[in-house]
């Protein structure tokens, strides 16, 4: 068995033998919220899959606030709560510390290993800080896998217009325009995964990289797309969770997610360069309107960060950005307040040129990604100001517009991606 599986966990799995459904919950100091998630998962399994043997696995990063105790102690009165008969197979619970780099990815590895060992048909992973999870989420994420042979079910949430800005400005457009699938929440964090796909993930040698940290969500999604697994989405309603991820500052969070995306662009280079357009995915569940928590944004601070970066980091940008891109970025910085705008095409070119520089290793990758953070803040500020008066439908249309620019400009991205490498190859003449 794998070295990251402890003897205690192995013993526990041998006791259980096998299971059809594994629900995994990664955690770190989530005692306050994880009880609700465990109760929702238990209720979901009891209500929607009463005849299937199920296990809930909490993969913990060494919590000091009693998270593991909360998981094992969380109770629910199924009969009273859901009006269903007592199930034949009681739901087993495991709470185990994971080994490896601290992060969600390492937690997922342990969950996938449990799913593989128990020969699970479906593995559902949900965040431990969710406040809006309902028992139906488990059905929506597991049923398409168990009953319709899907391999990967991504979440589809309703979110506030200022929420999920990395998703809306980079991750969703890249997933869609480059990899050809309209996965609206590629880094949603709550997924349904088939046993076959979970086993495939375990075979990959990425568990000592940024994937083991925050980059795991996008890695799961893009790997499933690029390797031809059957993908769908499930409508889960609103996603309400803790406002701040403890210990995760924007710079490291952004770096890990974007580094994962750029890294996957290298891994699956031939796939995304051959992919044309994008296809919508089947959506399970019943879409309904729901109120979402408002998000406060300090636009002034973001514009200030952008303006300072364009001035102070100019030499860094000069080393890999196209002169016209840099000029356009400088021109944006000259506008202030409500006049500040970061056009879609400029944003697409900027992201593409950063990806190409990442690929050709023009500078230290960590530095490269850090230097993208203030530009992303500028783009976010511009987006926030543009949609200030818009409703949810109009905001979605605005994001759709950005995705179309990404798709239109894809040839430019490919050209930049290849150009830097070609330049190196041609540089073989002997200098005098």
């Amino acid at each position: 068995m794998d070295s990251f599986i402890s003897k205690e966990l192995l013993g526990r799995m041998q006791e259980i033998g096998s299971a059809e459904i594994v629900v995994g919950i990664p955690s770190y100091n989530n005692a306050r919220t994880i009880g609700h998630v465990v109760r929702a998962a238990s209720a979901g399994l009891a209500k929607y899959f009463p005849q299937r043997k199920s296990v809930i696995v909490n993969s913990d990063g060494g919590s000091k606030d009693g998270t593991c105790d909360v998981v094992l102690a969380a109770e629910h009165d199924t009969d009273a709560l859901l009006l269903v008969p007592h199930r034949v197979n009681p739901i087993q619970r495991i709470s185990t510390p994971y080994h490896g780099l601290p992060g969600k990815g390492s937690a997922f590895r342990t969950i996938f290993a449990v799913a593989k060992q128990l020969q699970a048909k479906a593995c559902v992973v949900v965040d431990s800080d969710l406040r809006s999870i309902t028992p139906q989420w488990i059905e929506l994420l597991a049923a398409p896998i168990l009953e319709r042979d899907f391999d990967f079910i991504a979440p589809f949430y309703l979110r506030h217009k200022y929420d999920g800005t990395i998703t809306n400005s980079i991750i969703y457009p890249i997933t869609r325009s480059l990899f050809g699938k309209s996965v609206r929440q590629p880094i949603g964090g709550d997924f349904g995964i088939s046993g076959k796909l979970a086993a495939r993930y375990l075979e990959k040698e990425v568990w000592e990289t940024d994937v083991a940290r925050f980059g795991v969500d996008i890695w799961l999604t893009l790997t499933a797309i690029a390797e031809g697994f059957k993908i769908g989405q499930s409508y889960l309603g609103a996603k309400l969770h803790d406002a701040k991820d403890p210990g995760a500052d924007l710079s490291s969070m952004f770096r890990q997610v974007v580094s994962s995306v750029f890294g996957l662009m290298e891994t699956y280079e031939s796939f995304w360069q051959a992919a044309n357009g994008s296809t919508p995915l089947p959506l399970f569940g019943f879409p309904f309107e729901v109120g979402v928590e408002p998000v406060a944004v300090n636009v002034e601070r973001m514009i200030k960060a952008y303006t300072q970066a364009v001035s102070d980091l100019r030499e860094i940008y000069q080393s890999f950005l196209a002169p016209e891109t840099l000029d356009a970025l400088m021109a944006c910085a000259r506008e202030s307040g409500d006049a500040f705008r970061f056009p879609d095409r400029l944003w697409v070119h900027t992201v593409g040129e950063f990806a190409a520089a990442f690929h050709s290793r023009k500078m230290d990758r960590e530095h490269l990604l850090q230097s993208l953070v203030p530009l992303y803040l500028g783009r976010t500020a511009s987006f926030v100001m543009e949609v200030r008066e818009s409703n949810a439908r109009e905001v979605e249309a605005r994001i759709e517009q950005l995705c179309q620019v990404f798709e239109t400009e894809k040839p430019y991205l490919i050209q930049r991606w290849r150009a830097d490498i070609r330049k190196e190859k041609s540089n073989v003449g002997i200098p005098g």
């Binding site: 406060a296 944004v297 200030k304 050709s360 203030p374």
Partner: protein
Amino acid sequence: MLEFLDKSFAEPLRRLMALLGDVLPSLFGVLTILVLGGAIAYLIRQVTYRFLNLVKFDRMVAGTALGTAIESARVFRSASDCGARLVQGFVWLFIILLALSASGTPLTEDLVSRFVAYVPDLITAALVLLLASAISKFLARSALLAAVNAQWPAARLIAGGVRVLVMSLGVVVALEQLRIGRTALLVAFAILFAGIVIAGAIAFGLGARDLVHEWLRAKSKPEPGEKEEILRHL
């Protein structure tokens, strides 16, 4: 008269010829070594350059501290060019030492032996400087990016300070290795370093008094009406 001519002209001429007879073979040997050695050094540079291109050396070092240092120096066309010229430089050094040794005079032999004994120190000092240059550039860029992302107004100044400090340390270590002005240099560096620290402390204490006050106040109690940002990026 014949005796006079013999003493005045023939004798010195014979001595000169004898001297030239002793020196000329060595001189010819030195010139041959220099010409042939130069050609060999040039050939070795070409071969090294082709080899480094073949193993994609430019790509290997791109993005590393070494690659960045080579690029920022703007002296070489590429990392492969730098490597090839470095190898050529070493070959030239060897050829010059060989030529000096071939001249066979006590002065050159003494010079060669002293230089050979000094070579390890020279190499170490050069490596220290190269390393200091690469590290200082890397750390300066790290400081610049961290300061810009933290929105500190003096980000460039901080990055410049980091670079100067690390490079100064490298120069002091290199000169110490070469045994040049040891005591004076160490004392000067200590004074300079202490001066920077004291000046920085005074400047921070006086200049940032209000800033620190504001910061502490903001940390302990937000201003009434001030909105906390809760933007969730993911």
